[in-house]
């Protein structure tokens, strides 16, 4: 975790912070817009603040905001958030190989603040889980630094959005900076042929399955892309991807 000196004094901690800082404007814009949207959809400033500080998951916050404002039943709200967050369940399957060496409370702390961007940057920086203590410390330090700075940036910008909701012009389209940050990170991942196939299939499937409720189109798209890549792995075109 970021408050452990063994992590924040490790050089990989700074490296993680440096990597996430390259997408900082995107995170700020997105956090800001999420804060504004929660208040404009009818949540009180107090509830929106609690949401920002506790929930820390932009897409599920936006999905449940109208439900909370309309007084939807407790379990329906939770089930919605769970479905919108299903992609994190897939990520956790991946992160399991890296984190299992650590005590549970450390896993839960760092897992809680590891959002999309930190997961993607972490697995790009460490394609294979380390099997020695020094390597595992470097992984933990990197992930802690990366997700910590992401968390701080998101919290500050989101709270600014909550408290200044009426003064921020949402129609300018500043939120598009968040999409562009993900475009940049996606480009940085597209270094093999099969990864580019994965991006293409997932993008097309997400559009085709858009009508599904609860953002399930994203989960369907991940499944379709992974299945397609596993099938193509055996083809001679896959080349560099085979081991």
């Amino acid at each position: 975790m970021f408050f452990d000196p063994a992590n924040y004094k490790h050089p990989a901690f700074k490296e993680g912070m440096r990597d996430i800082s390259s997408v900082a404007p995107g995170i700020w814009a997105w956090g800001l817009m999420t804060g504004v949207a929660m208040v404009q959809s009818g949540l009180s400033v107090e509830v929106a603040t609690a949401m920002t500080l506790l929930v820390y998951a932009g897409s599920s916050q936006l999905a449940v905001t109208p439900m909370l404002a309309a007084g939807a039943p407790f379990w329906v709200v939770l089930a919605t958030a769970f479905c919108v967050n299903l992609r994190f369940v897939v990520f956790s399957m991946h992160l399991r190989h890296y984190l299992l060496a650590w005590p549970r409370w450390q896993r839960l702390c760092v897992g809680y603040i590891t959002a999309d961007m930190s997961y993607v940057m972490f697995t790009r920086r460490f394609p294979q889980p380390a099997d020695d203590a020094a390597g595992q410390r470097a992984e933990m330090a990197y992930l802690s630094g990366n997700s910590f700075l992401n968390w701080i940036g998101w919290q500050i910008s989101s709270l600014v959005g909550v408290f200044m909701a009426s003064q921020i012009p949402i129609h300018w389209g500043l939120g598009f900076a968040g999409v562009l940050a993900l475009v940049g990170v996606m480009c940085s991942l597209s270094d093999t042929r099969l990864r580019r196939v994965s991006a293409g299939v997932a993008g097309a499937a997400a559009v085709a399955a858009f009508a599904l409720p609860l953002k399930l189109n994203i989960v369907v798209a991940i499944a379709a892309a992974v299945a397609m890549c596993l099938l193509l792995e055996r083809s001679p075109l896959a080349g560099e991807e085979r081991r």
Binding site: S59, L78, A81, L95, Y112, R124, V183, C187
Partner: protein, 113 residues
């Protein structure tokens, strides 16, 4: 919904975040993952990003856009072009955001695209 309930719901939503983000490493118990599932995870990060952003770029009000005059397409294309022009070196991702917004904002606010 009463005041207490809404805060209780928000706290429970925080728990949902922890449970979903940590789902497969809450418990240490051995999980029988087939080898293909582990291999397949290599393609998951880019798939997730693409699934999140492509609809944000090419759809409006839940439908595929039919009009090419849309600032988002040009902004995203300019950002990606910048990234590959710089071959991902230095602050290429930051440049993607800056260049993309520099193309998007005038089109969006000036021309209403």
């Amino acid at each position: 919904m009463a005041d207490v309930w809404i805060y209780l719901t928000v706290a429970a939503l925080g728990a949902v975040t922890v449970i979903t983000r940590c789902f497969f490493f809450i418990f240490e118990r051995e999980l029988p993952f087939p080898a293909w599932a582990d291999r397949g995870l290599r393609y998951a990060p880019i798939a997730a990003l693409s699934a999140v952003i492509i609809p944000e770029i090419v759809m409006r009000h839940g439908a595929l856009i039919t009009d090419w005059r849309d600032g988002r397409i040009f902004g995203a294309a300019a950002g990606a072009a910048f990234y590959f022009w710089r071959r991902g070196q230095g602050q290429a991702v930051l440049g993607t955001i800056v260049v993309g917004m520099a193309v998007y904002l005038p089109l969006h606010m000036g021309l209403g695209w």
